[in-house]
Amino acid sequence: MPEERAPKSSGDDVPVLSVDRLTVRRGANLVLDAISLDVEAGTPYAIVGESGAGKTTLLSVVCGLLEPDSGEVKIRGRSLAGLEPRERAVQVGLVFQDHQLFPHMTALENVTLAPRLRGAKNADEAGRALFASLGLAGFEGRRPHEMSGGQKQRVAIARALALEPHVVLFDEPSAALDPKTTRDLAELLMGLADKRQIVVVSHDQPFVEQCCPRGVRLEKGKVGVLGDAAAIFG
């Protein structure tokens, strides 16, 4: 596939995200079947496929919520195997489909929690800057139950960006969004891709076509098709 512009290139040609012979079994089933995949730094990358193809499992393994039976995940050439969640979180962040904001905290507290626990002195300031850049200025003191779905999603994005990970994963980000919000989100993701690798797990073709010039289609736990949006939805 054609090499994309590499905004956060570290100067060498190591893929930003690399999956090597990853296998996950569930009982007798192979959910991921020795899957290997390299994602070069660049535009948002889509992982698509039918239900049960292994998208969510792959995402869970990459962000450390699930241990693979074998194989490994590397970010910029560095293996994530054996990393503590604390170290892993600066490599890869995750935006949950249902946001999973902490309901007892304000929007800003959601975003500054992880940096504060790491001793960041300017967590509040950085958080407010993130809010401004995501069009969330004024929402800092809101609690999750006082915000719309689209607003909560932006807070969840801000939270994932707060630790400045190299890769940010999005799980079905366009689910439950109206067309206008979906278009705004696509634009936002394109913008965010400047400074980190965005990986989107989705089965929403129009959305993927709007924001992801490239990706992979998983089929039964294996790499089916690599290519642009048209190709992977084939």
Partner: protein, 477 residues
């Protein structure tokens, strides 16, 4: 922090106030202690008088025995049906509580020579009719020799069993009982003092001899007490004691006296003392219970193999009566060589019972935090304790605060049960005031009001917390 300092100061004050000997103080003489068991609810033999002091014929006689055997008397009040158990468990050394010598009891304990003779008599409420009629309701105290007698002598009567004569008398006053069978002297005393109009129905049914039992292994003490009883009976002092306690009762036709009253200040002091004891036993018991519950809940959630047997144990505690657990600790542990006093037993029982309930509440509230929240914390790189503290616990709070406060309120109410092993808390103080004054309505109402004073703010706090959590969107309406 000032609030916390005040809180601890208040607890310290409580401990100081309550720790002063609540049970009747030992007599001033030196020498080894003789722990004397009695109910404190059997006037005029042993009861709490208008000053709240333990007094009566038994008490005076026990003091004489202590003097003769060069011991210090220490009195312990217990329920009648548990008093032999306490003797055999070594919690008391002797019973000077008007216990009749019977062949059955003599198999279990060693009786001294009799220290007085009396006998059961039927007392009948005015207008109750003929005692031989079917359905005539007769009250009798559980575990007494009279229980069997009543069944034999009045086969058509309906026999009702009470914890003590004072309770039976209250039922007679309320018109629910037609008669009661008790010691003739006790009945005569109550007829005079309680203001319940009742009269003896015929002569005493038979004669009983009252002895002082000790544990069968305690033969040396038995010999000493036996000799002392004989000496006292032979002395002039014995006649004086009889005159002091029964003199006026033996003058037939004496007008019924008004029910004795306890000075308001004195009664309020006793109830306040009982309330403080209730608060203290609950603070210590529930405090330990909460700590224990946290440990148990952690083991239930994270304990792996330990979780399953522990869950069975928690269910077992939740499924058995609090009073049975209390008795198991107080009467059962001594047989394993562990002698814990009534206070410690009460605190232990409250801790164990509350820990079982609270652990279940904590476990349930932990399970109510969605899996996604744990995953979100993990994806943000939070360590396990960080996730627990900043993400999981704050979400457990809304779910568990009301059930926890309800459990605490239920436990405070159940703490009344520890009165049965002689912990001088609110209920027992009320019962003793009732045995001195025969005014159950006044003192049970006062006790209820004092319980309410403690529990209602907790219920209110629960309601306010609930409203606050709902306003924050952390609890669904």
């Amino acid at each position: 922090m000032r609030v916390r300092a005040l809180f601890f100061a208040a607890i310290a004050l409580l401990i100081v106030l309550v720790a002063r000997p609540a049970q009747a103080a030992p007599d001033a003489e030196d020498g080894p202690v003789l722990v004397v068991g009695l109910t404190g609810q059997y006037p005029p033999f042993n009861f709490f008088d208008e000053q709240g002091e333990l007094s009566g014929f038994d008490v005076d006689f026990a003091r004489a025995v202590c003097r003769e055997t060069h011991r210090r008397c220490e009195f312990r009040t217990l329920q009648w049906d548990g008093i032999i158990g306490a003797l055999l468990a070594g919690r008391i050394d002797a019973i000077v509580g008007s216990m009749a010598v019977t062949p059955e009891r003599s198999k279990a304990v060693l009786f001294s020579a009799p220290y007085y003779e009396s006998g059961p008599e039927l007392f009948v409420r005015d207008g109750a009719g003929d005692a031989s009629r079917p359905g005539f309701a007769i009250g009798v105290t559980l575990g007494t020799t009279y229980e069997k007698t009543v069944h034999e002598r009045f086969p058509k009567a309906e026999v009702r069993v009470f914890k003590g004569d004072v309770q039976a008398l209250a039922d007679m006053g309320a018109g629910r009982l037609d008669g009661l069978v008790t010691d003739r002297l006790v009945g005569a005393y109550m007829a005079r003092k309680a203001g319940v109009v009742m009269r003896p129905d015929g002569p005493p049914i038979y004669e009983e001899k009252m002895g002082i039992p000790v544990a069968p292994s305690n033969t040396a003490l038995h010999a000493e007490i036996d000799a002392a009883v004989k000496r006292i009976r032979a002395s002039a002092e014995y006649g004086e004691l009889q005159k002091k306690w029964f003199g006026e009762l033996d003058s037939p036709g004496a007008a019924p006296a008004a029910a004795p009253s306890v000075a308001f200040g004195r009664a309020a002091g006793l109830l306040a003392h009982g309330l403080l004891a209730t608060i203290l036993v609950c603070i210590v018991g529930l405090g330990l219970g909460i700590l224990l519950a946290i440990g148990v809940a952690a083991a239930l959630v994270f304990g792996g193999r330990l979780a399953r047997p522990l869950a069975v144990l928690v269910d077992f505690i939740r499924a058995t009566p609090f009073m049975v657990q209390l008795f198991a600790i107080y009467f059962g542990l001594p047989s394993l060589g562990l002698k814990v006093d009534a206070w410690t037993s009460a605190v232990a029982a409250i801790s164990i019972q509350s820990a079982a309930y609270l652990a279940e509440v904590i476990k349930t509230s932990y399970a109510s935090v969605p899996r996604g929240q744990h995953q979100a914390a993990r994806a943000l790189g939070l360590r396990r304790m960080e996730a627990l503290r900043h993400v999981v616990l704050p979400q457990m709070m809304p779910v568990m605060s009301v059930p926890v406060l309800n459990t605490i309120v239920a436990m405070i109410k159940d703490s009344a049960i520890v009165s049965v092993i002689g912990v001088y808390e609110l209920t027992l103080q009320a019962q003793q005031l009732i045995s001195a004054t025969f005014q159950p309505m006044v003192y049970y109402l006062a006790a209820a009001f004092l319980y309410f004073l403690v529990t209602y703010p907790i219920l209110l706090a629960g309601r306010r917390l609930e409203a606050r959590f709902k306003a924050r969107g952390l609890l669904h309406a």
